[in-house]
């Protein structure tokens, strides 16, 4: 049977679908707005628990562009993990995520214009070490991971990268960060990278990710030119979004980016192309949830102009 396209009209008519795709495609802030707009009732009950996502910000975090203070970023990370795991202190929180016998690949991102800050890589590595993992069993990298036995044969992954708009997939965020796990990247390009979630089912990836950290220090909310980067289109958000579910974390990040675009341009300016791979990671590949009603967003720290 030929699958039906997801159209604006369908999202306007179908509240259930809109609660997943509404904010990703239509810049709807949440399902209450959708219900109001469409005249339909809000869904209120779901089986199972909501997935927790932690947004944490510190207004004094940055010492320069994309450069956080080492002590502050460490503190933010620890607070986020404590909140996410629901335990009393950061040592116990990290022990819940990582065991001493784990072999841990920290999948970073070294895109030249907006890389994962080294200060955050150091902070994550310290936390993993604190959990009892020896140095030789930890690797931090972006390129070359398929030649790195820690990534290919390891037991645990931590996924960390900055949020940015992307010329072909809408955004470059956590779901896309595992593209280095394949040699055949062009195979994932069709239909504006619609099926990036397939990466998360690769044998060396599936079930190994313990933590996802979307870096929102100076997110890129709009791209121009062949580099798709200009500092004019970044801003000091000074935050991290942390969670177990990469789809939920990415979808929160997209909402913030869309809100920033609206504020900056003075009108709705949808991501071009839309970040459909995040929507499809939920609805087609069942990697996680993009449904706003199934996400529990916990906010910590400075929340001025949080845009969410």
């Amino acid at each position: 049977m030929k699958k039906k396209p997801i159209t604006r009209r369908q999202l306007l008519k179908n509240t259930a679908l809109a609660s997943v795709g509404g904010f990703l495609y239509l810049n709807f802030p949440g399902s209450k707005h959708i219900a109001k707009a469409s005249g339909l009732n809000i869904r209120s009950n779901y089986p199972g628990e909501k997935t927790r996502v932690v947004l944490i910000r510190d207004k004094d975090l940055l010492t320069d562009f994309n450069k956080p203070d080492q002590v502050k970023i460490q503190s933010m990370l620890d607070q986020a993990v404590v909140t996410l795991t629901g335990v009393s202190n950061h040592t116990e929180a990290w022990k819940k995520l990582i065991k001493p016998e784990d072999i841990v690949g920290i999948k970073s991102n070294n895109w030249r214009s907006l890389p994962t800050p080294p200060e955050l890589e150091i902070a994550i590595k310290q936390c993993v070490s604190r959990s009892g993992v020896p140095e030789k069993n930890i690797s931090v990298r972006d390129g070359g991971i398929i030649e790195d036995p820690i990534f290919m044969d390891g037991t645990a992954l931590i996924n960390v990268r900055p949020m940015r708009t992307h010329a072909w997939s809408g955004v470059g965020s956590l779901l896309k960060n595992y593209i280095m796990f394949t040699n055949n990247r062009p195979a994932l390009h069709p239909d504006s990278c619609a099926d990036l979630a397939k990466l998360w089912k690769l044998p060396n990836v599936e079930g190994k990710t313990r933590l996802n950290i979307l870096v929102m220090l100076n997110p890129l909310f709009h791209g121009v030119g062949r580099n798709h980067f200009n500092k004019e289109f970044t801003w000091e958000y000074k935050g991290l979004i942390v969670g177990y579910d990469p789809v939920a974390v990415d979808s929160i990040g997209v909402r913030i980016i869309q809100a920033k675009r609206k504020a900056f341009f003075g009108e709705d300016r949808p991501l071009n192309p839309p970040a459909k791979h995040i929507f499809l990671a939920d609805t087609r590949h069942n990697i996680g949830t993009a449904d706003a009603e199934k996400i529990e967003l916990v906010k910590k720290g400075w929340m001025e102009d949080s845009l969410i």
Partner: protein, 300 residues
């Protein structure tokens, strides 16, 4: 098999000279030095197969506009940021214009047939070429050098290119001029306004499509025009769109949707026209009617 070998041999003889010729063509537009910035190292060339190595993540944008080749040259000056200049050969002027419309925030023709200046960057198009002049950081001197480079390249490219014919059908009243966005790959259909995640209008490299914004930001509405290779393809696209999006347009071209906004759609020979998100019925209907009148009066 013998015939295949013969063709392979012919290709080996012909292709390298052709590549050299094309490379030379791009090379000749670049200055050797500007304001103390000089060329360091060799020029680099990339084609559709190798562009991913150069701008992984950004290559698809150019490939969706039939990109053929790019030359990249870096200029250096002591104590100043490097400046990288690229000339993308997009085969046709309409493709160069299309890529340019992705970054256009204002109407500006200081360089070439349209240009845009950002911090550390000048982007412009002329004839079949899209030109990018970029430095990671900007100083007063580097900006002056970028401007000088843009002027030299603009002067070196003698020809100007024809804009796509489809732009002729865009009405000017209430138009946001810098919003005109030209494309022929369905991925860009949702540039201003999400319509669908699938190619329900059968946009291909044989179709020309344009989006444009109208009205004030708080009451923005959008025009989509698609020109198909023939009337049958336009009719098929209209039928599919009506079935998947708004069956009501088959009986009345102007329809109010669930969000209270108006949509107005029609097909006219090879042209599909649709107005989205109009806050008032009159705006949707008038814009649709004006496009169709312009198209009819052109003798198409």
């Amino acid at each position: 098999m013998a015939i295949r070998k013969k063709y392979l041999l012919l290709l080996l003889i012909l292709v390298p000279p052709l590549m050299t010729s094309s490379a030379k063509t791009l090379n000749q537009y670049l200055p050797k030095a500007v304001n103390g910035w000089v060329t360091v190292g060799e020029d680099h060339y990339y084609n559709p197969e190798t562009l991913f190595d150069y701008i992984n993540g950004g290559a698809e944008l150019f490939i969706s506009y039939d990109f053929e080749q790019v030359i990249s040259r870096t200029y250096k000056k002591s104590g100043q940021p490097d400046i990288t200049v690229e000339i993308f050969d997009m085969i046709k002027a309409k493709n160069a214009f299309g890529v340019f419309t992705h970054a256009r925030e204002s109407v500006d023709s200081i360089f070439g047939q349209g240009s845009q200046t950002f911090e550390g960057a000048i982007l412009f198009w002329k004839d079949r070429y899209y030109i990018s002049i970029v430095s990671d950081e900007e100083t007063g001197d580097s900006k002056k050098a970028q401007v000088a480079m843009a002027k030299k390249i603009d002067k070196a490219i003698k020809q100007t290119g024809m804009l796509p014919e489809i732009l002729d059908w865009i009405p000017e009243s209430l138009l946001v001029p810098e919003s005109i966005f030209y494309f022929h790959h369905y991925v860009w259909l949702n540039a201003f306004y999400y319509i669908s995640d699938e190619n329900l209008l059968n946009i291909t490299d044989k179709t020309d499509a344009v989006l444009a914004k109208y009205g004030e930001p708080e009451k923005r509405y959008y025009l989509l025009i698609i020109q198909y290779p023939d009337n049958n393809l336009a009719g098929d696209a209209y039928k599919n769109f009506a079935e998947q999006y708004a069956p009501e347009i088959k009986t009345h071209p102007v329809v109010k949707l669930e969000d209270g906004k108006w949509i107005a759609c029609k097909v006219d020979h090879d042209l599909f026209v649709c107005v989205f998100n109009a806050h008032e019925e009159k705006n949707a209907g008038t814009l649709l009617k004006t496009v169709l009148e312009k198209h009819s009066s052109s003798g198409e």
